[in-house]
C-alpha cells in the first residue's frame, strides 16, 4: 500500500500535452508543482534555464547560454551536437514577471517564430502553456524533427529526377 502511495507521488505523473492548434500553431502544456514565481525564475535565469532546456538524453551539449530577459533584450544559445554547433537566438518581446514571457526565434531562414509562455498559478501549482506561432506551415513542419524533412526533400528530388529519366526513355 505504501509503495503505491509513493509511486503516485512521483513527478512522472505530470503529463505533457502537445496539440497542433492550426497549421501554424503548436501548444505544449504541463503543470509544475511549484508557485509561478519559482517556475518563472527557472525560465528567466540563464544559470537555471541551461540546466533543463536541453534534456540530458538528447546528446546535445549547451556550450553557452546568454539571456537578457527584458523587453527588447536578446538571448543566444549555442549547442554542440557531435561535430557541429547550432545557434538559437532571438529577442524578448514581453516580460511580465511570474505570468508571461514572449520571445522571437530568429535563427530560421523562413522568418520568425514567436513563442509565448504563460504561467498560471492555482493552488500552489503552475500551469505552463507554451505556444509557438510559426511564420509558415513549412517552418513548423521542419521545426524540431531533425533530419526527417531534409531526408524527405532529398527523396522528392530523387523522385523528380527518376520521373524525368523514365519519361525520356
Amino acid at each position: 500500500m505504501d509503495v503505491r502511495r509513493e509511486s503516485e507521488a512521483t513527478p512522472t505523473k505530470n503529463r505533457t500535452g502537445v496539440e497542433r492548434k492550426s497549421e501554424l500553431e503548436l501548444v505544449v502544456t504541463r503543470t509544475v508543482n511549484a508557485p509561478a514565481r519559482l517556475v518563472f525564475e527557472a525560465w528567466t535565469r540563464a544559470e537555471l534555464f541551461r540546466r533543463w532546456w536541453v534534456p540530458k538524453s538528447y546528446g546535445l551539449t549547451l556550450l553557452s547560454c546568454e539571456m537578457d530577459v527584458r523587453v527588447g533584450g536578446q538571448y543566444r544559445l549555442v549547442f554542440r551536437h557531435e561535430d557541429s554547433t547550432m545557434e538559437f537566438f532571438g529577442t524578448y518581446l514581453e516580460v511580465t514577471p511570474h505570468s508571461r514571457l514572449v520571445w522571437t526565434n530568429e535563427e530560421g531562414d523562413n522568418g520568425k517564430t514567436i513563442t509565448t509562455v504563460t504561467f498560471e498559478e492555482n493552488d500552489g501549482k503552475t500551469l505552463l502553456v507554451v505556444h509557438d506561432l510559426y511564420p509558415s506551415k513549412e517552418a513548423l513542419d521542419s521545426g524540431s524533427t531533425g533530419g526527417m524533412p531534409e531526408a524527405l526533400d532529398q527523396l522528392d528530388e530523387l523522385l523528380v529526377s527518376l520521373g524525368s529519366s523514365s519519361a525520356t526513355k
Partner: protein, 117 residues
C-alpha cells in the same frame, strides 16, 4: 527518429527499384487515379497493379482511399502518420525538458524553505 527514417528510406528505394512503380508514381504525380485506370494504362491485371500500389503505399510514397467500390491512389506521403510521429517526438522532447525543469524547481523550493527556517 534516425532509425525510423532509415527504414523509410530502405522501403522507398525498394519501391523505386521497379520501372512500373516509377511509372505509376510519375502518373500519380500528374493526377490521382484508380487502380483500374492504372492497370489499364500499364497493361496489367488488377491483381498485379494492386501489388505494385501496395509496395508504394508501404513505402509511404502513395496513399489510397476507397470510396464506394473504387480505390483512388494519390501521390504523397502518409500525412497523418508523419504528423503523429512528429508530434510524438516533439512531446517527448518537452516531457524530457519538463522533467529536468521539475528538478530545478524542486531545488528552488527547498532553498526557499531553508531561508525561512
Amino acid at each position: 527518429m534516425v532509425q525510423y527514417s532509415q527504414s523509410r528510406f530502405d522501403a522507398s528505394f525498394g519501391a523505386l527499384s521497379d520501372a512500373t512503380r516509377r511509372g505509376v508514381l510519375e502518373q500519380l504525380g500528374r493526377a490521382d487515379a484508380s487502380i483500374t485506370d492504372l492497370a489499364k494504362k500499364f497493361h496489367m491485371t488488377l491483381t498485379g497493379m494492386k501489388k505494385h500500389v501496395g509496395v508504394l503505399e508501404q513505402a509511404g510514397l502513395v496513399t489510397t482511399e476507397k470510396v464506394g467500390r473504387v480505390r483512388t491512389c494519390k501521390f504523397g506521403l502518409r500525412g497523418l502518420e508523419e504528423e503523429a510521429a512528429w508530434i510524438e517526438g516533439y512531446r517527448q522532447l518537452w516531457a524530457a525538458r519538463f522533467d529536468e525543469l521539475d528538478i530545478v524547481v524542486e531545488e528552488l523550493k527547498r532553498k526557499e524553505k531553508a531561508k525561512w527556517t
